[in-house]
């Protein structure tokens, strides 16, 4: 079990940087709990100095370790600052202030060995970390060469904002020289000594994932929105054409209720699409577990170099009768709860992630599965509706022209209906197929990710039943998936950034 010795609680009144939190996880010492325990794959024998490295990170004797230095520099050169639509028109100097503010507020957040290990080379040690997920604010070392090219304009235009640097951090004074490529770190000016007024920033402006925010942080979606535009056109286009060309005929000749039902279905489908696409899918906030327990991976090729063989342990929890391992997410710095998954496109951990939908440009997770399902069901009904009533339109034209009627006359009388019927027939296969697939997933009570994993596992090891979340009957599963309560977003997008210094005193109520 936990072999790290119990230390007396370390007070932080020495010169440790403010904001350093000694977090001791409750079950590191032997807790007689049958339900949750930490499982260490090997017994931990922390190397000498490991304890200091973990807890007394930046002691007075060494206030500026090289890793800390490069980390703050990384913040400054970071091009991953999420650009909300509001910031696009900002001149470069304000971008400078923005990125400096982001790092200034972050400078005293916890800098652990995991951060330093990412500076060198983002080799994923623990499973669940993908290549794309390594490229975040924390470990954008590999992007320094690229980002410098983009940021040189910023630096060139605002040298006045870089004051002389009294800290030993800065040895080379010349701030900008884009031709220097051999020592990139020295070129970047540090951030913490910029004496500029801090702008009041909201949380969404500093969000580290790959998301775009609209309307002051009220809406959010992922980055690649070309497929969303295609999907929008495919929904709105045929519906508008149907409304203009076929509905008047149906209103007069069939029944007024038909266009009304069509309008209702269209509005519901469109609203569901927007709600699925522009709301938070259930993103888990980052940095909830910045100091996980490590174990020395003696089998690792990098054993011996202290940072590289430290792999966070996996936690084990019991779900019903099964034991489940919680993996540590290096990017988001937390232990993923069961059923959560780290999305590569959005670079976030999402609760109960079903899949990332490129057509809606968002992950489908716990918070937006219901509107997603509503959207595909109503889209299927819309397709069926359009097909049926386009054909009715054509048949009624044939009946009205009883007599010499040819295909060409019918086509000229109602060309739009003809085309709509064909287009919607093709769309029906796609959307309808997806609807049936999700219905089958709902009856089983699994997400898309789990289903895909299970099919891989079953092909390799037949006989293992993998789903501890099945409630027993399909009806129960369906009720649970479709009617579970929707939690509020955890991101606090429109709240102002709390710097780690600005904490409410314990006597004040929240």
């Amino acid at each position: 079990m936990a072999s790290s010795p119990k230390r007396p609680p370390q007070t932080l009144q020495q010169s440790n940087p403010p904001g350093l939190v000694v977090s001791s996880i409750a079950t590191t010492s032997a807790v007689p709990s049958t339900e949750s325990r930490f499982r260490l794959l090997t017994s931990i024998a922390p190397p000498a100095g490991w304890d200091e490295a973990r807890l007394g990170l930046h002691s007075t004797s060494q206030p500026l370790s090289p890793f800390f230095q490069s980390n703050s520099i990384l913040r400054f050169t970071d091009t991953q600052v999420p650009d909300s639509l509001e910031n696009l028109g900002l001149p470069s100097k304000q971008r400078l202030i923005r990125s400096s503010n982001a790092s200034a507020t972050d400078e005293s957040s916890l800098k652990t060995i995991t951060d330093s290990s990412h500076n060198e080379d983002p080799i994923p040690h623990c499973s669940g970390v993908t290549s794309l997920s390594n490229m975040t604010n924390d470990d954008s070392t590999t992007l320094i060469g690229q980002s410098r090219q983009l940021n040189t304009d910023n630096y060139k235009s605002s040298p006045a904002y870089v004051p002389p640097l009294p800290t030993p951090l800065m040895s080379s004074p010349a701030p900008i020289n884009p031709t220097i490529s051999s020592t990139p770190i020295q070129v970047q000016p540090p951030v913490q000594t910029l004496a500029v007024p801090q702008l009041q920033r909201r949380n969404y402006q500093d969000f580290p994932g790959r998301n775009k925010f609209f309307c002051g942080g009220r809406f959010m979606t992922s980055r690649e929105y070309w497929a969303f535009l295609v999907a929008l056109v495919l929904i709105v286009g045929p519906s508008v054409l149907f409304g203009i060309f076929t509905c008047p005929f149906l209103w007069d000749n069939v029944h007024p209720a038909v266009p009304i039902v069509f309008c209702y279905l269209f509005v519901l489908s469109f609203a569901s699409m927007i709600k699925t696409s522009w709301t938070d899918p259930g993103i888990i906030p980052r940095d909830l577990d910045p100091t996980p327990e490590f174990f020395d991976d003696q089998g690792s090729a990098y054993y011996g170099e202290s940072e590289w063989s430290h792999v966070p342990v996996q936690k084990e929890v019991k779900i019903r009768d099964n034991t489940w391992a919680l993996r540590y997410c290096d990017t988001c710095k937390l232990y993923r709860p069961p059923r959560a998954s780290h999305c590569r496109q959005c670079d976030n951990c999402v609760e109960n992630e079903d899949h990332h939908c490129i057509w809606l440009n968002n992950c489908i997770g716990k918070r937006n599965y219901r509107p997603f399902f509503t959207f595909i069901v109503t889209a299927t009904f819309l397709c069926l509706f359009v097909i049926v009533f386009s054909i009715v339109h054509l048949l009624l034209i044939v009946r009205d022209h009883s007599g010499n009627i040819t295909f060409i006359t019918v086509f000229h009388a109602a060309p739009v209906s003809f085309v709509l019927a064909i287009v919607c027939f093709l769309l029906l296969w796609m959307v309808g197929g997806l609807t049936f697939y999700h219905c089958s997933l709902i009856f089983k009570g699994v997400t898309t990710h789990e289903q895909l994993r299970a099919s891989i596992i079953n092909s390799k090891y037949p006989g293992i039943s993998a789903n501890p979340f099945n409630k027993g009957s399909p009806a129960q599963n369906m009720i649970h998936v479709l009617c579970r309560p929707q939690p509020k977003s955890y991101l606090r997008r429109r709240k102002f950034v709390e710097s780690s210094q600005a904490r409410v005193e314990p006597s004040q109520s929240r």
Partner: protein, 153 residues
């Protein structure tokens, strides 16, 4: 208000916040972990007393807090006919129903927030501790911050 940085630099911060250096007073953060034994969809915390709190608080007070939190969350998340009806109406009315009739879950979350506040005020702050609301950490754990006693009110 000036704040010390690691390099012993003084930096004036001009945010409107009142800056309290967090290094003064915070001793430890103790966690009560989640209990997943009931499966997906039920949020529960373990009713295990963390040994770091030995001597700082009585067992039954902490367990009362955790058990009440569990009860509030259980009531919020257990699916009833009311939940199903609310969700169907929400879809049928094109998502305007929750604006008029707040859902049971939202009310439970408000109740939870008030409960945590009162517990902090009455029980934990006098003992030099503070519970962070689990909503902040996406219900992954329940965090109890321990401050030095002479800093607490």
């Amino acid at each position: 208000m000036t704040v010390r940085t690691p390099g012993n630099q003084q930096r004036r911060s001009m945010t409107p916040h009142i800056l309290v250096p967090i290094s003064q007073g915070l001793v430890m953060c103790v966690r009560v972990e989640r209990d997943y034994s009931k499966g997906d969809g039920i949020t529960k915390f373990q009713t295990v007393f963390p040994p770091e709190l030995e001597g700082r608080i009585q067992h039954d007070k902490l367990l009362h807090t955790v058990e009440t939190l569990n009860a509030i969350l259980l009531q919020a998340e257990t699916l009833t006919f009311r939940h199903v009806f609310d969700n169907i109406m929400e879809c049928l009315t094109i998502y305007t129903w929750p604006l008029l009739f707040p859902s049971k879950y939202q009310k439970a979350l408000d109740h939870l927030r008030q409960f945590v506040e009162t517990q902090n005020k009455e029980v934990y702050n006098p003992l030099g501790m503070e519970i962070t609301s689990p909503v902040r950490v996406a219900f992954l754990y329940l965090e109890i911050k321990i401050f030095e006693r002479n800093e607490a009110s």
